[in-house]
């Protein structure tokens, strides 16, 4: 995965990488005949099962990399492929608030790994001109991690080719509560200063205060690892999203998995368009 990313960015490569890149471009050329989704979201499930398969320890010793290293590179590869295809928005579910219930050493290991990856992410996203957002309750993160996240967001604010949203310390319920709390606070302030015209808090106001207001609703939500649930991810935004579950573990996801998910989406595109149109009319 790492070689694939580096080769595509022309940081290193060989003839095989060039050949596979050419084949991939041809496949994407065919795919672009149909509708390409504007926003794809990923539930990156299967990292721990993959680590067990590869016999990686949780602190990232043996095997030439950390437990979540392979997962990180898989995300970078997907980001690259999506950009090549013309998918503008990519969202990834990196860490749920519920994951804080894990054993402290695992949480700490994950946080340390994330901090290390932010530095690498910084280089890669600038190369690819990707704007990065972090969606979630960032107050739950350590000061260092939160500061790194803010720095990365600011550093990439000017890019517009693609938008990568990383959901960290995120759950849908927390997002909804946050949006409701913010809306109530804004209404209270509005009433206090006499500049609130609405009788009640409207749905539009709640939606504007969502963490995910930075991106349109996802067209496809892809979950790896074989499970069929959203696990508190984008429950609000997924009304008309095509839910695609695949058995492959996240670090093993490849171009064909993405192609298949998009082909499935294309088959139902008319239906989704009709549903969205109906909702707008109402």
């Amino acid at each position: 995965m790492e070689k694939e990313v580096m080769s595509s960015l022309k940081m290193e490569g060989n003839i095989l990488c060039s050949a596979s890149s050419f084949i991939r471009k041809c496949i994407f050329g065919v795919l672009r005949v149909g509708a390409i989704p504007n926003h794809i979201a990923f539930i990156m499930d299967g990292n721990r099962r993959y680590a067990k398969k590869q016999k990686l320890s949780h602190d990232g010793a043996a095997g030439g990399g950390g437990r979540y290293d392979a997962g990180f590179w898989a995300l970078m590869v997907m980001l690259l492929y999506c950009q090549e295809l013309g998918v503008k928005y990519i969202t990834a579910y990196a860490f749920s608030i519920d994951n804080f219930k894990r054993k402290p050493e695992e949480v700490e290991s994950l946080m340390t790994s994330m901090l290390e990856k932010f530095h690498l992410l910084d280089i890669l996203v600038k190369r690819l001109a990707v704007r990065v957002h972090f969606a979630g309750n960032l107050e739950l993160l350590s000061n260092e991690l939160r500061a790194s996240a803010m720095e990365l967001t600011e550093a990439t604010a000017a890019y517009s080719k693609s938008v990568l949203t990383i959901c960290i310390a995120y759950t849908s319920r927390d997002e909804i509560l946050h949006a409701v709390r913010e809306s109530c606070e804004q209404k209270r302030i509005g009433l206090e200063f006499g500049n609130d015209d609405d009788d009640e808090i409207k749905l539009m106001k709640v939606e504007k205060n969502m963490y995910m207001a930075v991106a349109p609703d996802p067209d496809i939500i892809i979950r790896t690892g074989g499970e069929n649930r959203l696990s508190n991810f984008l429950l609000w935004q997924s009304c008309w999203s095509h839910l695609h579950s695949m058995r492959v573990l996240w670090p093993e996801i490849g171009v064909w998995n993405l192609v298949f998910a998009i082909l499935n989406f294309q088959r139902n595109k008319t239906y989704y368009l009709e549903m969205k149109k109906k909702e707008k009319e109402l």
């Binding site: 608030i97 519920d98 809306s183 696990s231 429950l235 997924s238 082909l263 909702e279």
Partner: protein, 277 residues
Amino acid sequence: MDFSNESRVLHRCSAQIGNLLLRSLWHLVHFIISICNFTLDIANVLESYLISSGLLGRYKSLHVAKLRYLAIVIESEGAYQTSKIIELLQWLEAVGVKHVCLYDNDGRSSGFSLSLGSLGILKKSKDFILENLDGAILFQDAHENNVLLDQQHMTLEFVSFSDGKEAVAKAANVLFMKYSKSGVTDQNQKEKIFTESQMSEALKTVGSGGPELDLLLVYGPARCHLGFPAWRIKYTEIVHMGLLKSMNYGSLIKAIYKFTMVRQNYGKCSFDLHYKL
């Protein structure tokens, strides 16, 4: 000059041929996928027949007790097929499912008033469905009359699109009234108002409360939950069942069986990787 014109024409022709080739390949790929899906459908029909006739042993005993709350999402066209819906509910009752939530994506409310146009298709057919299903009662009535949920008969809930996002906006107003009455400015005190349990209560107050669902079966052309109330599908298994008009008993049993085999750890840690995230 002639040479540049000719090269332009050549370039245009080759681009057109290229586009035609790409389109043909795209149609070919989708045609192959249709064939594969058709083959899979036939296999599923055969398997469903085997399940229905009891020839597949593992589906004979279902641990239905694990399935406390089931939701059926039906796309708009299917929601008018009331007889099919009643048949489906009768199958679920026979299997032993105690609580079913029926949802269709129709029904938008205007403000706080609930006009007939704001009810979903299923909500409008509620009385007819209840009449034709022996002993089934409304979930709200069961709660109000303190009827035990381990009763003999099924409880039904009817939910529509207006119970989703719009209900959350209404619940926000309920919480705002609580917030403004309390005169709270302290952050800690504020946190006590905006909690998940308070939100659940507020949703109940506006008539859109309900338990979290275990399994959600989607009867429609695509695997999409069609705006089912987000608050209730946190860890819900979502299974696509195809169109309602093609529903069959075997597929239903298979979906419930698969659900009973799933083990969740709700995001918590386990180094035993038989547990899943």
